[in-house]
Symmetry: C2
Subunit: 294 residues, 2 copies
């Protein structure tokens, strides 16, 4: 994807604001926040904010930073709950500092997002981000209900993707002034690909290391599709033995079928675009989301 003129500058400005938002405050919260920040990430959400804005208008840097702050807050909180010890190749905040510190940091990043938007006078932004945050919390609750449940429907899984990922992508686009539909559909596509990668990553190739989702009992699309024809996979989702299960998942063709679903959502995202000035870039981004391998 070729960078749209100004995107690099915009992302640099977002990064600077993120730095200031997080590191400008003393103590452990800043320390963990900075760790979460320097751990990096694709900054896909601020990118969406930029690309959703009219080409002749400078998009709000605060908006891009705010949506990323909420995303970072969910990562820190997820680590707290999941007990994931490594995120993006660095020790997760909770393991280095304890659950309490991770909770405080997540809450801080979350509040910071609203504080920045309010200081910017962006009431519509506050509203969009609050709605996305409500969806995130509902998605968390839904994930908990679906845990270890091999009878989770594909629709139930897709609803979870929409709540946990789609709505924040949607907010990122709305904050830029663009189409919410594009963002939501792209987010679902993105999440499906994430879930495929969790089943098929390099470290899983032998099938001896179960993916994070399988270990957590989180029923993802590839696992659910595989379970339709493989009772061992079905039992694994329900909490049974995990060894060799990812090889079985791959053998059912569930990864390819999941990828087809992800592609379908990416296509629908592209098709939802109409008058966006950066339409070509948004289309390319949708392609890149499906084609990525990390």
């Amino acid at each position: 994807m070729r960078a749209a003129p100004g995107l690099a500058d915009y992302l640099a400005d977002v990064e600077e604001l993120l730095d200031r938002s997080v590191a400008g405050h003393p103590g452990l919260v800043a320390e963990i926040g900075t760790e979460a920040l320097t751990a990096g990430g694709k900054r896909l959400r601020p990118m969406l904010t930029f690309l959703s804005a009219p080409a002749d208008r400078a998009p709000s840097v605060v908006a891009g930073a705010a949506v990323e702050l909420v995303h970072m807050a969910t990562l820190v909180h997820d680590d707290l709950i999941d007990g994931a010890s490594v995120r993006r190749g660095k020790a997760a905040a909770w393991s280095a500092f304890g659950a309490e510190a991770a909770r405080a940091t997540g809450d801080y990043l979350f509040a910071r997002a609203f504080s920045e938007l309010a200081a910017d006078g962006d009431l519509a932004g506050v509203s969009a981000l609050a709605e996305a945050s409500l969806a995130l919390a509902r998605g968390e609750a839904l994930q908990r209900r679906q845990r270890y449940d091999p009878d989770t429907t594909v629709d139930g899984y897709l609803e979870r993707c929409s709540l946990k990922t789609g709505k924040l992508f949607e907010a990122a686009c709305l904050l830029g002034g663009g189409s919410g539909d594009y963002g939501r559909l792209l987010g679902i596509s993105f999440q499906i690909v994430d879930d495929i990668l969790d089943c098929a990553g390099d470290s899983n190739e032998t099938g001896k290391i179960p993916g994070t989702d399988l270990r957590d009992g989180t029923p993802t699309l590839p696992l659910l599709l595989a379970a339709q024809s493989d009772e061992t996979v079905r039992a694994a989702i329900a909490g049974g033995p995990l060894e060799g299960v990812l090889v079985r998942v791959a053998a059912t063709g569930a990864l390819e079928r999941s990828r087809a679903v992800a592609l379908d959502y990416a296509i629908r995202a592209r098709e939802s675009l109409s008058g966006e000035s950066r339409r070509r870039e948004l289309e390319a981004l949708a392609d890149a989301v499906v084609d990525r391998n990390r």
Copy 2:
């Protein structure tokens, strides 16, 4: 304290909005949120919002509900971290439903507060509540740093009170259009009294059941003052044996000295008032906060 004309109606309206905010959404989040809601509480913060408004102006119901939603979110999250099994006489959300559900519920209540204020067009309210939320997170982090540290200074303790309690009281008053100083000082007074009650409650009279703070290693004012003259109390804060420690705390006179500090803050809160139309009620509230025994 005599209820100001309209206070009962206002609090009833707040309660109705809280009900709708929480229960209007399906699933576990609503269930836990409703549990947290029906567990009750003094609704002191919405009361502050009402009393801070000019007597001739109808204060915003959304503002009162939003500040209480943030307070409820912190209670649910505190339960998640502290492992407190009982809050307000009911099983804490986390113990009934698991840490993940409590986290999702806390996040939901938090986002709901901002969503309600944004829908109400109250940008100043969003700003005040976001600042208070940032302070809450910093207070959490400070509490973690002070844990098991008998060398925590009284100033450090008071800063924690200001961040964890004072700033949300301040926001409650600002949301009503009143004096932030009054709220912050009252909040510190309120927290000191809470900490005294944790050392001196009925169930602790034998000294055999250590208070929550002592068990958690949280250095509160009565514990710190007692530790100045009692090495056993000092060792208990640092994680040593707890049995009989609360009797020793009482014997040092630390409870009375702490109460004097609480009273001083309540007086300063009263003195910070100037043109508030409901000054008399606010003064009475400050007295009631210090005199309460639960």
